[in-house]
């Protein structure tokens, strides 16, 4: 078999760039493979990653937004107008990590998962 590993790149972007960069990915015919958040304990940073894939070449490009602790409330525009199914990922990032994602197409109002604790994957502001 002719295996094709594909590229695997992480591209840092500013929060305001996200919609236009997502649109570029859409125009290239890429699929949104996943989006997720991570809280970096040592650096005290919130990272959002949006991974786009080319199904022909198996390339994966992850757009990366990094937010310092003090910037955690920065408004991130939803890309669900561009990739409708991004709503599921965005609801998850907001509910578990407190990412301030606005204008989600299918806004589940923090009811994606039935959990008691708010934003359990990040420390509360005073603990951070």
């Amino acid at each position: 078999m002719n295996a094709t590993e594909g590229k695997n790149e992480i591209i840092p972007i500013a929060p305001a760039e996200l919609p236009i960069r997502a649109m570029e990915m859409k125009n290239k015919g890429y699929r949104l493979s996943q989006a997720c958040a991570a809280w970096l304990k040592k650096e005290k940073k919130l990272e959002l990653s949006y991974s786009f894939v080319d199904d022909d070449t198996y390339d994966i490009f992850s757009l990366r937004i990094s937010l310092e602790d003090a910037e955690r409330d920065t408004e991130i525009a939803s890309i669900s107008e561009i990739f409708s199914y991004a709503s599921f990922y965005e609801n998850e990032m907001r509910e578990l990590f407190g990412a301030n994602i606005k204008y989600i197409g299918m806004d589940l109002q923090n009811k994606l998962y039935r959990i008691q604790e708010e934003t359990p994957f990040v420390p509360k502001k005073e603990e951070a």
């Binding site: 078999m1 997720c36 009811k111 039935r114």
Partner: protein, 359 residues
């Protein structure tokens, strides 16, 4: 316009193997819109990185799901191995491939049984699961477990498959192949079965791409993407091509999965024929420091793994995006315009795994 009504479907329902809730907007008996709701079994497994070290997380990853268990353990371990620059021995890669394909076999046969049950063919359901038992026997013979068998670790595997076991697997593959050929005739040619699946829940190639669908669900709509083509584990040294259908309906999805049963049998035979001698695990030193995105082909489709290490035994992040999470939007699209009586079949047709999805 007919009167509209909203029917709640699930989370507990005879046809649903796992809890998912759908609000179905109906006009008479036609579905106009479906709004999914999950979250009944979210366990917060990814948060356990705070309490478990990166080696223990391999066992947590395996417990994300009872059916895709091996794949989750493998996907997680391979992601950590990339970060740590560990070169896994060739024999371990072949062993992982054999167990992965045995897992795919039992998952697809489980699905075939559930599908038969969903359209009311009890005998066919029993026959599928009878064949599946033989695959589980192979897994038990080689690992000691039947569904969750914990043979992956960061750096390789913890058990080997002896020549006698290989012979037993090959004999079982002959049996499974013979029996699946009989099952295939019923699934593909029986008039009653066809009448429940043909033309039901059609998703075009363009729709499948636009909705981010993955795995057999996408391949049944003509998207020739299979993560095994990336060549991870030993797949790069085996011959295979993605199995696709252009029907885009329930029949097409069934055709793809049954085709993949034969493909898995072929891959197991190839892997056993080529497996090299040697070590089954590499020595692992230190802690992961860095990040990696990894994609593999689970039985239900593409699964994404992300690991972020910080140089300590406890990871900053372990994230799994499961195939069902990717296929929820596609499912809702196929439900639009469907008859109410077909909802059960359509939900099963994506091979949903809600435990995986919610982690």
């Amino acid at each position: 316009m007919a009167k509209r009504s909203v029917i709640p479907y699930g989370p507990q329902h005879p046809v649903l193997p796992e809890p998912i809730h759908l609000d179905l907007v109906l006009e008479d008996e036609k579905v106009v819109e479906a709004i999914p709701s999950i979250g009944f079994i979210h366990r917060g497994l990814e948060k356990l990185t705070e309490k478990r070290d990166f080696n223990q997380m391999a066992y947590v990853a395996e417990r994300i799901c009872g059916i895709c268990s091996f794949g989750h353990g493998y996907g997680y371990c391979e992601t950590v191995e990339h970060i740590m620059g560990i070169e896994v021995p060739a024999r371990a890669n072949y062993l992982r491939t054999i167990w992965f394909e045995l897992s795919r076999l039992h998952s697809h046969l489980l699905w075939a049984g559930l599908m038969a049950d969903a359209f009311g063919f009890e005998n066919l359901f029993y026959q599928c699961w009878r064949v599946r038992e033989k695959v589980l026997d192979c897994i038990e013979l080689t690992t000691g477990g039947r569904v969750i068998f914990s043979v992956n670790k960061v750096g390789g595997v913890i058990k080997d498959i002896t020549p006698e076991m290989q012979k037993a697997i090959l004999d079982t593959m002959d049996y499974v192949e013979k029996e699946t050929k009989i099952l295939k005739k019923t699934f593909m040619n029986d008039y009653s079965v066809q009448s429940r699946m043909k033309g039901v829940g059609v998703l075009t190639k363009e729709q499948a791409h636009a909705l981010g669908c993955a795995g057999p669900f996408a391949r049944a709509s003509g998207i020739a993407t299979d993560m095994r083509m990336r060549g991870y584990a030993a797949y790069g040294e085996l011959d295979m091509e993605p199995i696709i259908s252009n029907d885009g309906d329930c029949y097409g999805r069934c055709e793809v999965r049954i085709g993949e049963i034969f493909q898995s049998i072929d891959l197991i035979r190839q892997a056993i024929g080529k497996i090299p001698e040697g070590e089954i695990a590499a020595v692992v030193k230190g802690n992961p420091d860095g990040e990696y995105f990894m994609r593999i082909e689970q039985p239900r489709g593409e699964a994404d793994y992300y690991v972020r290490g910080n140089g300590t035994p406890n990871l900053d992040r372990m994230r799994v995006r499961t195939p069902t999470f990717a296929n929820l939007a596609g499912l809702c699209e196929t439900l639009k315009g469907a008859d109410y009586a077909d909802i059960g079949i359509l939900v099963v047709t994506i091979d949903p795994c809600i435990s995986c999805t919610e982690r």
